[in-house]
Symmetry: C2
Subunit: 448 residues, 2 copies
């Protein structure tokens, strides 16, 4: 066998593109998967035998704000509007040096839960460097805000262009341009005025960059869009901001304004109404579903079952650690699966569907399914091993049910991205979370 071949073996292989394979192996060469097959007796190559474990594709976290990881645990039970105002106030007090270590700490938490692709919305821009240094694959959406009269749209677009250039330079410096793509996140309809939303859409089309927009998340946002009332409207009145409500719900507004297209990710869509869901399906947008964040902030449960029936691609996202509490994508999956059953009284999505959203469907939604999302010869070697030795795995016959109902970060034995081992048996190869925690503790001393 040629130099650099690695064989990963386990009692289960879940390719996602094919049926589960008991007693299988995944062969990796030069960052690529070259074979997925029944367990062989080949030796000579480097072999890692995981035994009671599931080998599967690296997971996709469809929406995150890594830079806020260090701000976790600040609120107890404030609803959405109060929560976001408190977060904005807290951000203003933080020294800018915290964003990179905070994002790196979040990256470590993702790697330890088996995530190898993350879609991250960033204000500071720190997440591009964090993903590159962590060895993760992903999408970085540069955030844009603008509701105050100044600066004007043109000035905001100039700043945006400069920020995107800086992100490109960072990715080039780390030779990460093939693994990490860029996008733009006009934050939400209550932080981006109509003219700016349209201008950003136009700019993104010219630049060939995709968009990510928080939409129809809370009742406050819907009230603002529908009738110019509620907490956001009161805040605008206080701040002497002239906000003209579109008089339709948020996603309908985005549709009418020509913003929606297949390159758009809508984050949350918790309150998407049936008519809006039809618009979403027709325009080809995808949805990032972050149910723990939605529950925490009292914004409800997104209509995942209905949206999927219409063919809208849904990916799972942890959102930030501040709202979700942890970046464990398995916690998100479990809450998502049970919450949908609880509110829709439907056994769909099935356990397998949910694992698909974390892998193959997620990869499709980000347009990277030719590279990742399944264990198949020719795909990039993003592979994880989930140990199934904990008591709660006893007697679980179906690997999809076992993963959906039981698996968690602590079961992750191995995380590989692009053939590079990022994490093995509790040890990180590129990151030092203990050092990051100490550094953040010092930087945040006296602030929180």
């Amino acid at each position: 066998m040629e130099h650099g071949t690695l064989i990963l073996r386990a009692n289960w292989v879940l390719p996602m593109s094919h049926d589960p394979l008991p007693d299988g192996e995944v062969v990796v060469e030069n960052g690529q998967i070259v074979a997925v097959r029944p367990r062989s007796d080949l030796s000579g190559a480097e072999v890692i035998e995981f035994g009671d474990a599931i080998l599967m594709p690296g997971l996709i976290n469809g929406h995150c704000h890594l830079e806020y990881t260090a701000l976790r645990g600040r609120d107890d039970h404030t609803p959405f509007f109060e929560w976001i105002r408190a977060l904005v106030a807290l951000k203003a007090k933080c020294p800018p040096e915290i964003w990179l270590p905070s994002a790196l700490l979040g990256a470590a938490e993702l790697i330890a839960s088996g995530v190898t692709f993350v879609s991250d919305n960033t204000d500071s821009g720190a997440s591009a460097e964090a993903l590159a240094r962590a060895g993760l694959r992903g999408r970085v959406y540069q955030e844009v805000f603008g509701v105050e009269p100044e600066p004007d749209d043109a000035a905001i677009l100039r700043t945006l262009g400069a920020k995107l250039d800086a992100l490109r330079t960072t990715l080039q410096r780390y030779e990460a341009t093939e693994h990490i793509s860029l996008g733009i996140a006009p934050h939400a309809i209550y932080t981006v005025r109509d003219s700016l939303m349209r201008a950003v859409r136009q700019y993104a089309r010219e630049q060939g960059l995709p968009l990510s927009i928080h939409a129809a998340e809370s009742s406050e946002e819907v009230a603002l869009a529908r009738s110019g009332s509620g907490s956001f409207a009161e805040m605008f009145a206080e701040r002497k901001i002239n906000y003209l409500p579109p008089r339709v719900p948020p996603i309908e507004y985005l549709h009418n304004a020509g913003i929606l297209a297949p390159d758009v990710q809508l984050v949350h869509a918790t309150r998407a109404e049936p008519r809006e869901q039809e618009m979403m399906a027709r325009s080809g947008v995808s949805v990032a579903h972050c149910p723990r964040s939605n529950a925490r902030l009292l914004t409800g449960v997104a209509p995942v079952y209905a949206m999927r029936r219409l063919g809208i691609p849904v990916v799972l996202g942890t959102d930030s650690a501040v709202s979700a509490g942890s970046l464990d994508i398995w916690d998100e999956l479990r809450f998502a699966a049970l919450a949908q059953r609880a509110v829709s009284y439907a056994a769909h999505p099935t356990w397998r569907d949910w694992i698909g959203m974390l892998t193959m469907e997620g990869a499709k939604a980000f347009g990277v399914d030719s590279q990742i999302g399944s264990l198949e010869a020719g795909k990039r070697a993003d592979v994880i091993a989930v140990r199934t030795t904990r008591l709660a795995f006893s007697g679980m016959p179906d690997p999809y049910a076992a993963l959906a109902l039981v698996a968690r970060s602590e079961d992750i034995a191995f995380t590989m991205c692009e053939g590079r081992v990022l994490y093995r048996d509790g040890q990180f190869t590129a990151l030092d979370p203990v050092k990051l925690r100490t550094q953040l503790h010092e930087l945040l001393h006296g602030i929180m």
Copy 2:
């Protein structure tokens, strides 16, 4: 210091009866807590220093079916009625020797998640011996069924009396009568006919035994009670069973029949209607809330917020591993907390309320709050230590939020019941789960 003193120290002590105590210690002598105080520099006694950890009362699992632990993972997405019929069919195929090791395996899973008191409903009776051997505190409800014409009520009561005698003998043999109490579980309105339900109520009053009844769990059960229609009614028709529907919903029926009283635990109450909630509050019953089981079986979300506002005591239960997937009470807590926020749009119960339901309020609901439920001098020494070193605990300032949003079985460093260490750093002192799994694997070979 006298012989047998043990001092447990940690960076946080959560007594539940008082405010959280940073840098505290709990002093244990002869199975009793003798002091809860700031960290001292006393030596001489045996000291366990947990450092970054939370010392708190042992947790209460308010509803379980330990004997079914080995049957976990059988279904994928069947709703309640099909699920319970499949479970009954599976039980009939199992050799009776499985119930004890299955219950012991479940007990191990509970101990590893920090539970020291469990309320368990048992058909085989195995859970009394399992709890006693595991060193757990708890309540064992002997299940009663009867909808077929034969045997008649008198015969069923005679069998029940014999089963209760056998449970008493078992508890005496293990000298566990002070830690484990008995009760009766007339299973549900669709498995216990009206005359038998009333006879069991009368018998329980005479014997001074409390009751546990599954009530208002599913839409199928409500349809049967309200109008004699639906899946259960069709099953009765097939089996030529003459079932007279009460023509009111299940809990209203139990109220009208004189079943409800402060010694009654209603399990689930998922579909409890406002009028039924009033009846529950007036009669003093408590509720065992098992939200993962409810979600899994497509039966909805119980009105916890509304019931608690009426003063109805609510405890959390995992239900069986077959429906919940795991017996990790922290998974139950997290899903409960987030699901209530998701459906009620209310920040109540708060994180602290939920931890209270697992401790002090739970103890009150079972009438054992003079002995357990808080860390106070004079109470029995049921104490656990939750390590807070995982990445996801980074920066969490509030111990209640940290526990509700992040803690899980893997963080449990130490479980003590009645001053006896049951579990420490992943090792069990009284149980051997690996041996139990092997034994069950052999017993169930060819069955599942």
